[in-house]
């Protein structure tokens, strides 16, 4: 804290200055330590509380810690009748379907938006912003009502379609940004030595944009895995996913099962947080939505 040292009154001996500086350093670290400690408690406290619940056998008021630890609830969750395996498989199947369907539409759209001359380009980009501009809960309510007429309620396809609509927006944005970040001169060089448009796309553009597209695939996968509201209206009770299992366990007051389900959903989210920067470079992020 040089500012504090600079305000010392005149006439201070150099040694006093050094002492005051050292004192203000200690104070600065004390303040930093307390603030960072509070932040750490705010962030890890809830996570730790959840972890405790996953290994709790018995815990009730006014005891501050569980009375008995164990893994019996894990056995119960993963038993055939516990529903976790079924929900996990459902969630993964739906998320994979969502990724395939989203990318199948987002790759051509992203390429066209980034590289081709399009009429109404800014209007089209705006249309892909639309789902971010409105709260989506009322939309899900009405999708469920419309799907009901077509027999899509309570089906995997219905849930995949709802998740795709949500994921498509991110997939299109990120794909557009990833294609736009590819150096045009490389494509032109390939074309000038005789490669066709499709070959240029498959051997130059797509591989160079792949990291961004891979990241968008993971993101769409995670969004689908974690999606609650749409599944709640369109899928429940026939299609049971992990978030729905978590909700019903929590609503039923079974904190162990809710916490174990939460942990399963938590692990991929935190892993993605740590690796995302390797896939999406800052210059791609800067182009999202442009």
């Amino acid at each position: 804290m040089t500012a504090a040292a600079g305000t010392l009154p005149r006439g201070f001996e150099p040694l006093d200055r050094v002492r005051a500086l050292a004192g203000s350093r200690t104070l600065a670290w004390l303040i930093r330590g307390v603030l960072l400690g509070l932040l750490a408690f705010a962030i890890f406290g809830p996570l730790l509380n959840m972890l405790l619940w996953t290994v709790t056998e018995r815990w009730y008021f006014p005891h501050k810690l569980p009375l008995e630890y164990g893994f019996s609830f894990w056995q119960r969750v993963f038993a055939p009748r516990g529903g976790a395996i079924e929900s996990l498989v459902n969630s993964i199947v739906i998320a994979l379907g969502t990724v395939v369907l989203s990318l199948a539409m987002a790759l051509p759209a992203g390429y066209a938006l980034a590289r081709l001359k399009l009429p109404f380009r800014s209007l089209i980009l705006l249309a892909f912003l639309l789902p971010q501009a409105f709260p989506n809960l009322p939309v899900y309510i009405n999708i469920a009502r419309i799907f009901y007429q077509f027999g899509l309620n309570g089906t995997y396809i219905g849930v995949v379609l709802v998740h795709t609509t949500h994921g498509l927006v991110y997939a299109v944005w990120i794909a557009t940004a990833a294609f736009a970040a590819v150096d045009r001169e490389l494509e032109e060089a390939a074309r000038s030595i005789g490669a066709g448009a499709l070959r240029t796309f498959l051997t130059i553009t797509l591989p160079l944009a792949a990291p961004g597209i891979f990241a968008s695939a993971i993101f769409v996968f995670l969004e689908s895995l974690d999606e609650f509201t749409g599944t709640y209206f369109v899928g429940a009770p026939d299609v049971q996913t992990l978030p729905l299992l978590l909700y019903s366990a929590s609503a039923g007051g079974n904190y162990q099962i809710a916490s174990i389900t939460a942990l399963i959903l938590l692990v991929p989210s935190i892993a993605f947080m740590f690796v995302v920067e390797r896939f999406i470079r800052a210059d791609v992020l800067a182009r999202v939505g442009r």
Partner: protein, 276 residues
Amino acid sequence: MPARIFGLLLVLPALTTIALLFAYPLAYSVVTAFEAGGDWGLANFIKSFELYRSDIVFTFLIVGSSALLIGLLSVAIGGYLTLGGSPAAIAILRWLYRWPLFIPFIVAGQLMRTFLAKNGMLNNTLTEIGLLTPLQTVSLLDWRGIVITFVWKQTPFVALLVAGAMASLDRSMIEAARNLGASRPRILVEIIVPQVRQTLLVGLILSFVIMMSVLSVPLMINAQSPTMITANMAFRINAYGDYGVANALGLISYLMTGAVSWIYLRYAVREQGERP
């Protein structure tokens, strides 16, 4: 085939999906908000206000105050990452603040449901270090719990955007202010924040819309009255199949986000006009 037509064909599947599965149900919800028992009119809105007036106000206050807190915390985090004096503290903060970034709302709801309860880790820690007696502890699972969960989950997202914008600023003006003896809080408020306010506002508006859409957090933290209108919409559908009132509440939530976005757009347009 002309290139323009080819480009449109490539965009068409994605655009059709958005039109059929987002724009159509959106329009459907707006139109049916005005239909009650075969008649057209404002009956659903009158009923919504009679039943849920306090919840509508409450929703706006919860989401608004959450957005305010998210903004303050994001600026504080971004500001320390940009101006902080200690590289070690900056590294710790950078590693720390992002954890909730991709944690789903429903998981955040469950975490807070245990953490903020009367017997949760927050109260237990406060009694353990002597700040509270066991009799003084209260459950925070009401509107405060919803605000805390929203802030906990959404701050990393806005802070990430804001910190990114701050990092790409020209350092020379900051250094000049520092050489003139300006304190770091003053540099943050008077020099840095005005330059990143666009990014900050975009992040906060996106967060506002997201918080207005979340069903799991109000259901899990506090579904009793007063609660958020998202919980009320789900209740109208599940208990009564009452699409009229649910859609009227939906339209009210569109109007709230619309008002916020409109303020932003007006501000952005003015900003554009000021540029040389």
